[in-house]
């Protein structure tokens, strides 16, 4: 049985809405926000072996996640609808914390494989983050020159656009990877705690796209994180968010702290980054409570920027209006 057959056989879809935006205009406009945003949480106890992860299990999780997100039995078709051979797709990883605390290379490779199956040429796939050095520390190999392979580089390799992008509290230069090279983005943050802004998930991951992230941690990142993600140049290009929760962290982030991490063996997938962030925040709160830690609010770092993003209409931040689908393997 191949993985697609497996998906079909094991498919269980919860009741809920279905919306399938067309490629090129993937993100609904503010007025078209669905009443419920779907976030798919997949965990798989079979994904991990002693020294790493099983690629096949990761692929299975991706397939199942896409299928659940779109109420379909054909995830491959969804990838083809989301991305075309004309696209240059940037995969925004989070690599600040070395191999264990960053977006896992094996997951990113599986995502890139899906893109290629959808017709995107390897040279038109760019794995990127702030610095080459960060990518290398997380296990990625820099490839700027070889156009026949998937490219991988930091903003330091391509520099920032000269234009100052302004929105609300934010005024920043944005990496040319976003402004000039990529037509579409897949956001691959990591599920983890952040010592200043509470949690660092989908929206916050785009601090790695700008030249001055250090300026926007004041007031627990509120409203800076929301203002940045609201920018069309970013938000309109993000077609999918896949949050890496293979290893997750509930305290001491963003650097990797093994004593406060747990093997969640999971991932979160959504089209609505705000909804995903709200769910991720909830998962971290629940884990903190379980481990005897105070809530992020009591710790003085409630990620209120997520609520701000909801109020601004960037996405859904009300948990009661989020269709949170939980899927478990193994």
């Amino acid at each position: 049985m191949n993985r697609r057959q497996f998906i079909r056989q094991s498919f269980i879809i919860g009741a809920g809405f279905s919306f399938l935006p067309s490629a090129g205009n993937m993100f609904p406009t503010v007025s078209a926000l669905p009443t419920k945003s779907r976030v798919v949480q997949i965990t798989n106890s079979l994904v991990r072996y002693r020294h790493g992860f099983h690629r096949a299990q990761i692929e299975k999780m991706l397939d199942d996640g896409i299928a659940a997100l779109y109420d379909t039995e054909e995830p491959g078709k969804i990838w083809r609808q989301l991305f075309s051979k004309k696209d240059t797709v940037g995969i925004k990883v989070n690599c600040l914390s070395g191999e264990r605390g960053s977006s896992h290379k094996i997951l990113v490779e599986a995502i890139a494989e899906n893109l290629q199956q959808a017709g995107v040429k390897p040279k038109n796939i760019i794995i990127w983050d702030r610095l080459n050095e960060d990518l290398e520390n997380a296990g990625f190999r820099i490839n700027i020159e070889n156009k026949n392979k998937i490219r991988c580089f930091g903003n330091d390799a391509v520099a920032y656009d000269n234009r100052l992008y302004l929105n609300g509290s934010v005024g920043s230069l944005i990496t040319r990877t976003v402004t000039r090279l990529c037509t579409a983005l897949i956001n691959v943050p990591v599920l983890k705690d952040h010592g200043i802004v509470g949690v660092t998930l989908s929206m916050k991951n785009f601090f790695g796209a700008i030249h001055n992230p250090n300026k926007y941690h004041l007031n627990n990142g509120n409203p800076y994180v929301a203002d940045l993600y609201e920018m069309d140049i970013i938000r309109r290009k993000v077609r999918l968010t896949i949050c890496d929760a293979l290893d997750a962290q509930y305290e001491g982030g963003p650097p990797f702290k093994p004593q406060w991490s747990w093997q969640m063996n999971g991932m979160l997938m959504a089209l609505d980054a705000v909804a995903l962030d709200r769910v991720g925040w909830q998962i971290i709160e629940e884990r903190r409570a379980k481990e005897g830690f105070p809530s992020l609010k009591k710790a003085g770092r409630e990620p209120a920027y997520i609520l701000t993003a909801g109020r601004k209409g960037i996405g859904q931040a009300d948990l009661s209006r989020i269709d949170w689908l939980k899927r478990e393997f193994g």
């Binding site: 914390s97 610095l131 520099a159 010592g195 250090n214 963003p254 650097p255 702290k257």
Partner: protein, 378 residues
């Protein structure tokens, strides 16, 4: 079969149109890419003012923000990094720009008038003024621009070679490169070259006191006299800046103040009056106060340039409140660019823009009434 052309990394980037140049600021010298040393992203010098905390965190003690910084993270300024529990400055000996400026450009009007200052800056700043003129270098990180390798002794040599009696730490915010400034000013003092700090004054007392051991003058940008303005426009706080001014007074450091007048945001009569009264009460009547003209910049492009009449109103209010040396800047040819004796009204230094047309001060005194004119004249 056609031979494939191999291209190197630079050619690739150029073909993508994605090579960046050095940052460019008005009045400063960006380096030509060809004259630059290789990028040196690993350059780190341990910071001088910080505390170690549990779990490899550090607490910066340089500016009032007191950033608590996790391992591999940076402080608000973007130029200090925690690496494995040790806090480093990334900009020591790594200026992004230098220029030879008239000292009047700083502006310092009572400090060696008519001389030049070897002026330099690294990237970075510990505030984020919406009207920043130099945001292309103040609001970026070291790895985002080409930097020179210019150790303190070399700065002093270059200043002397240029005939500059003074080194000015300026353009961005020298607080964030305090270690470099301290070492350079100390080297300069040994060689008979003075040092002036052109700053926002957003610094803790200990580093400011340390710096005063080797500095000769300080200019403080007092951006407003309300916390509201500092909070909303500067992303900082007023009180620590006022504390710095009082500290400088206590340490007998020659200090001048600039107040950038931003239409509708800090230009009311009451604010000018409060400003003058605070200076008179806490620093004395003799501290020079420069009102400077705002031009739309950076994040504040929806306001017009400051009307000259507003600057004149500010000038008149502060003079009426008893301040002796009130100037108007960024309005070349205005009579309030010149220095007048506060006792006999004699013109002492006639200026036009950055030019000194006439300097009549003799041995620090008014030639007419012999009143002592405060400043550093030799």
């Amino acid at each position: 079969m056609a031979e494939k052309k191999q291209i190197n990394r630079r050619e690739f980037l150029e073909s993508c149109g994605i090579l960046t140049g050095a940052a460019i600021i008005s009045g400063a010298t960006p380096f030509a890419a060809s004259s630059l040393p290789a990028k040196d992203e690993k350059h780190r010098v341990e910071a001088r003012w910080y505390e170690k905390q549990p779990h490899k965190k550090v607490k910066c003690k340089l500016c009032p923000r007191e950033c608590v910084v996790d391992d591999r993270e940076r402080g608000y300024c973007g130029v200090r990094e925690n690496w494995n529990g040790v806090y480093y400055t990334l900009v020591h000996s790594r200026p992004c720009t230098y220029h030879i400026d008239p000292i009047e450009k700083k502006p310092l009007f009572h400090f060696l008038p008519g001389t030049i200052a070897y002026s330099l800056a690294t990237v970075g700043c510990n505030v984020d003024c919406k009207f920043c003129q130099n945001w292309q270098i103040s609001q970026i990180r070291p790895e985002q621009v080409d930097n020179l390798n210019l150790p303190p002794e070399k700065v002093v040599r270059e200043a002397r070679r240029a005939g500059a009696p003074t080194i000015a730490y300026t353009y961005t915010e020298p607080v964030i490169f305090s270690e470099y400034m301290l070492d350079t000013a100390a080297a300069g003092r040994k060689a008979g070259v003075k040092s002036v700090m052109i700053s926002n004054g957003y610094i803790q007392a200990e580093p400011m006191t340390d710096l005063c051991q080797v500095l000769d003058a300080v200019k403080i940008d007092l951006k407003a006299i309300t916390e509201k303005f500092y909070r909303e426009v500067v992303a900082g706080e007023l009180k620590p800046v006022l504390d710095t001014l009082v500290l400088l007074r206590k340490l007998k450091m020659w200090t001048e103040i600039v107040y950038l007048v931003v239409p509708t945001l800090n230009d009311s009569d009451a604010e000018f009056r409060n400003l003058a009264r605070w200076i008179r009460t806490n620093l004395g009547k003799d501290v020079p106060l420069h009102f400077s003209r705002f031009y739309p910049q950076y994040k504040l492009q929806n306001l017009p340039p400051t009307p000259v009449k507003t600057l004149e109103r500010a000038h008149d209010i502060c003079q009426a409140e008893g301040l002796h040396y009130v100037y108007i800047g960024n309005v070349p040819g205005h009579r309030a660019e010149s220095t007048y004796c506060p006792y006999c009204s004699e013109v002492l230094i006639r200026r036009r823009g950055y030019l000194i047309l006439e300097n009549r001060i003799v041995d620090g005194k008014c030639p007419n009434c012999q009143a002592t004119i405060p400043g550093i004249w030799h």
